[in-house]
């Protein structure tokens, strides 16, 4: 199966490691992962608050382009960034369910010589890797099982709400199952889908920091060695403000936060550079896994 990739703006800037790792993993797993030509910003959550129809048209341009780039049949458009995933999913759903939205948006698209015929399905890489590719198939290719690594899986809100397309909206398990298949131990914690604050860390920082503090503290308390996420903004929020949180709230949070695709890449034996590991603020110590010397070390 061929997958079209929609990187979105974040994956080309702060979320660069996400794209690097996903491309590397796709290559290693021999998944056809081709970038959508001439894609544009999806509009994220901001545009839709201003003008819903225009926002749909902006996002739909990508859907129409996807149709042009593919042969007949359903097209799987993979959007790793959770916000892009949600915006594109919502656009796809509204164009399907509401004929007047479809008419309005297609009229706008027609002006650019484009048209959307309803053939795109918007997917998330987590869904694709676990449900399409399959955990057994990933497990077969593991070079370094992540034994002894305790991983807190953080889903954030946008991949599971409001559309829970591939997992339960309150207690998702896809990432946990993946982590288990990689040989690591997923930490069972109740805040998997609690909001990280999104852009609040930029606008009303105290609110954003407060939310992130709760997540990091609980994950660490439950014994997590590392937290993995599937959204570039979540990753940024959780990783980048730990010193500030420690200072303000007198905490001792010291938790590496990586992309789940980077974790897969480590288990598959890919190099640090390929996975963009050097871009992480807090590099997780995984040498005992990737460069095992005799017995596995117990703790860090």
């Amino acid at each position: 199966m061929k997958y079209l990739s929609f990187p979105g703006c974040s994956l080309r800037s702060t979320g660069r490691a996400y794209e690097e790792s996903i491309v590397a993993v796709a290559k290693a797993l021999e998944i056809q992962y081709e970038e959508l030509k001439d894609w544009n910003c999806c509009g994220a959550t901001s545009y839709v608050s201003i003008d819903e129809m225009d926002a749909f048209a902006l996002a739909a341009r990508n859907l129409a382009l996807a149709e042009l780039q593919s042969a007949e049949g359903t097209i799987n458009l993979v959007a790793p960034c959770s916000a892009c995933y949600l915006v594109l999913s919502k656009t796809e759903r509204y164009l399907e369910d509401y004929p007047n939205v479809s008419a309005n948006v297609n009229a706008k698209l027609n002006k650019a010589g484009l048209h959307y015929n309803g053939r795109v399905e918007v997917r998330h890489p987590l869904d694709v890797l676990v449900n399409d590719y399959g955990l057994e198939n990933i497990a077969k290719r593991i070079k370094y099982p992540l034994k002894g690594l305790k991983v807190a899986c953080y889903y954030g809100c946008q991949v599971v709400r409001p559309f829970s397309k591939f997992d339960h909206s309150h207690y998702p398990v896809t990432m946990d199952k993946l982590v288990q298949a990689l040989g690591a131990e997923p930490v069972d914690w109740p805040l998997k889908t609690r909001c990280c604050g999104g852009s609040l860390t930029g606008t009303t920082q105290e609110a954003g920091l407060r939310l992130n503090r709760l997540l990091l503290k609980e994950a660490q308390k439950r014994g997590a060695d590392i937290m993995v996420t599937c959204c570039p903004l979540c990753q940024h929020n959780l990783e980048c403000y730990q010193e500030r949180i420690n200072r303000i709230y007198k905490e001792k949070i010291e938790l590496p936060v990586a992309y789940f695709t980077q974790l897969i890449g480590v288990a598959l034996g890919l190099s640090e550079k390929e996975l963009g590991m050097q871009r992480l603020f807090k590099k997780p110590s995984l040498e005992h896994i990737t460069h095992p010397k005799g017995e596995m070390a117990n703790a860090w």
Partner: protein, 670 residues
């Protein structure tokens, strides 16, 4: 008798009912009556305010006599409501009741259309169709069917028990079939009942005992109905009696066998204690089980798995009551009426994973808590949690699984009251702080609101807000080791975190898991939620659309014990009406073969689901047994020669209806 009025001219009496404002405001009843008067064959065409009233019916009877009417049509409400009323009126007026036809211009017209012009046109079409149809009506005799006096009651909970006792006391023979090894149903599992706080077992066991000892009741427990044949008054039922491997005549319930079983302790989750304790393969569900007979569970007994058990149970029994060779038995009985009282199941709390059931050990369902506080329960009435602690704080979450688009839309009616009851009992047993998280408090029954007031005086905390989640995520040191309930307290407008030791989920009531199979076997319908469908929600809550079958209790919809008992009594009364009248009238809409036209092609033979059609080999023609025919008409439509006709629904009648409906269109366009 198949006489017809074809030889004499039609003298049709047509009546339009205003039904107060219900019909008259939308359909122009005057214009309708005037229009119908112009149709051929119509002698009288009147409109009247309430045709179903006494004066309305008398009007018809007067006209029949004075104008020698030979057909009557009433355009009013649905035939499902008043066809019988008007047929009786027509008969009293001296005319065969089957010369009557009804036109539905209320449910099908005035109540669903707003355009008066279109509605009146539609009413005219329907009226014209009826006028053309009645020409072909024939005088028919109502079928009378005898009612067998015995009754089958399916389900031995409180509703089934009450219905059985009522009927048995009225002198009727009752078969009470229950699939558990004992009767008592859910009520036997409760500790106390609201609002009186009577001990449930204390008020139930005398009734159970009466059932056991009543000479008119045949109690078959550990049994299921496996086949239902026949029709009202004449049902042939097959009841499958599952083997207990105990001789019922000999066992006295001493339970020595249970003690001596080679299992030193139970390994199977005990169903009666909702899995909170374990039982052995040989067991009695609870001490007051009725009948007081032990049962061996073949799925967990070693003897059945390996055949090499020492069978210490047999040694222990000095009455020689244990019999491993016992087989399943099919009992065939004949009854005239059936009452279904199969009860409910509770909502599966694992469907709402954010409440932590199954994840956190100290989250319980209400039914589990009933067993915990019960003196004969798994902890002897002491409130000990799964981790051994005694709770100092308890949260009770209302509406679990109910009033929710994502799970069940309906309100389960009993949960508010039983949550209040549990709050009281928990406080009594532990003196813990109790928090009830509710959306609304539904305390509508007698003394229910007063019970709620009493709890307020007992310092139970009430927080109005639907609980969002239960988790073990502690934010402050005081929350460590507790379950945190997060809910918006809508009265004060903030989101609260309430740390508790124990969470009780007030799970809702649902139809039984096999309710679809059961209702297909008895040929009744279910409503959209899956509860058995009553004939009319207001006026016939215990009747079904199938004559002779009644429903009562929670299988019809969530309800508490007093309502279940009331419905059980009502169902018993309905059954008694049939039995004491001795016979029932059936619509004579059966099919018959016009032998001269039958070509002997055999197409109809396999079509009838009731095997009512057979072949007369001598004449080489088909023959229909009127007693078995239920009047569906499938054979009528299938017969290639048109030799089979259905009374009341003959081809000519339907063709003339079609013609009548469309006639105006034809003349309009050409």
């Amino acid at each position: 008798m198949h006489g017809n009025g074809h030889n004499e001219p039609m003298r049709i009496g047509f009546y339009v009912c205003h039904c107060g404002h219900n019909i008259a405001t939308i359909v122009d009843v005057k214009a309708l009556a005037e229009y119908v008067k112009t149709l051929p064959g119509v002698s009288i065409s009147r409109e009247y305010k309430y045709m179903c009233s006494d004066p309305g019916q008398e009007l018809i009877q007067k006209d029949i006599r004075e104008h020698s009417l030979n057909r009557v049509i009433v355009a009013s409400c649905s035939p499902l409501l008043h066809e019988h009323t008007f047929r009786t009126a027509v008969e009293k007026g001296g005319l065969n009741p089957y010369y009557f036809q009804m036109v539905n211009i209320r449910e099908n017209v005035s109540w669903v259309h707003t355009d008066t012009k279109a509605a009146t046109e539609k009413a005219k079409d329907l009226a014209r169709a009826a006028v053309q149809r009645v020409f072909h009506h024939k005088a028919l005799e109502t079928k009378h069917v005898k009612i067998h006096p015995d009754v089958l009651v399916v389900g031995g909970g409180i509703a089934g028990i009450h219905a059985s006792l009522t009927l048995a006391n009225a002198g009727k023979k009752v078969y009470l079939v229950e699939r558990q090894p004992t009767i008592g149903g859910h009520m036997a599992m409760f500790d106390k009942t609201f609002p009186t706080l009577d001990c449930a077992a204390c008020i139930l066991t005398p009734k159970m005992s009466q059932v056991k000892n009543h000479p008119n009741i045949t109690l078959w427990t550990y049994s299921e109905v496996s086949k239902v044949d026949g029709y009202v008054g004449n049902y042939k039922i097959a009841v499958k009696r599952k083997p207990r491997y105990i001789n019922e005549e000999l066992c006295v319930g001493c339970m020595d066998c249970i003690e001596k079983c080679i299992y030193k302790e139970g390994k199977t989750p005990d169903e009666f204690n909702v899995g909170l304790s374990k039982r052995k393969p040989i067991y009695i569900p609870f001490p007051q089980a009725t009948p007081q007979i032990v049962v061996i569970d073949r799925k967990t007994c070693i003897e059945f798995k390996s055949g090499r058990c020492k069978k210490t149970c047999i040694e222990a029994c000095d009455r020689k009551a244990i019999d491993f060779t016992q087989k399943e038995e099919i009992k065939e009985i004949e009854v005239g009426t059936i009452i279904l009282t199969t009860g409910y199941q509770i909502f599966d709390a694992s469907r709402v994973p954010f409440y932590g059931y199954g994840k956190y050990p100290n989250v319980y369902t209400s039914l589990e808590v009933e067993r915990l506080v019960n003196a004969s329960g798994p902890t002897g009435g002491e409130l000990i949690l799964r981790d051994g602690r005694h709770p100092k704080t308890v949260g009770i979450i209302h509406c679990v699984g109910s009033r929710d688009k994502n799970t069940n839309r309906w309100c389960s009616r009993t949960c508010c009251m039983y949550s209040l009851k549990l709050a009281h009992l928990l406080k009594e047993h532990t003196d813990a702080e109790v928090y009830n998280f509710y959306i609304d408090i539904r305390a509508a029954g007698k003394s229910y609101e007063e019970f709620y007031d009493k709890l307020l005086d007992e310092n139970v905390h009430f927080i109005r807000g639907r609980v969002a989640e239960v988790s073990d995520w502690a934010v402050r040191p005081s929350e460590e080791g507790k379950l945190i309930i997060r809910a918006e307290d809508t009265m004060i407008g903030i989101v609260r975190r309430v740390p508790v030791d124990m969470v009780v989920l007030a799970v809702g009531m649902e139809p039984q898991a096999d309710s679809q199979d059961v209702r297909r076997m008895f040929n009744i319908s279910c409503s959209t939620e899956g509860f058995f469908l009553e004939r009319h929600p207001k006026l016939a809550p215990v009747d079904t659309f199938t004559d002779g079958i009644f429903i009562a209790g929670a299988c019809q919809g969530p309800k508490d014990i007093p309502d279940s008992v009331a419905q059980a009594g009502a169902a018993a009364a309905q059954a008694l009406t049939l039995i004491d009248t001795g016979e029932i009238e059936l619509e004579p809409n059966t099919a018959f073969v016009v032998q001269e036209e039958c070509s002997g092609c055999r197409t109809c033979l396999t079509i009838c689901p009731y095997n009512a059609i057979s072949r007369d080999e001598a004449k080489q023609k088909a023959f229909i047994n009127e007693a078995l025919c239920k009047g569906c008409g499938t054979c009528v439509a299938a017969c290639p020669s048109g030799a089979i006709k259905q009374n009341l629904f003959e081809d000519e009648m339907i063709f003339s209806e079609i013609d009548g409906l469309l006639k105006m269109e034809q003349s309009a366009c050409c």
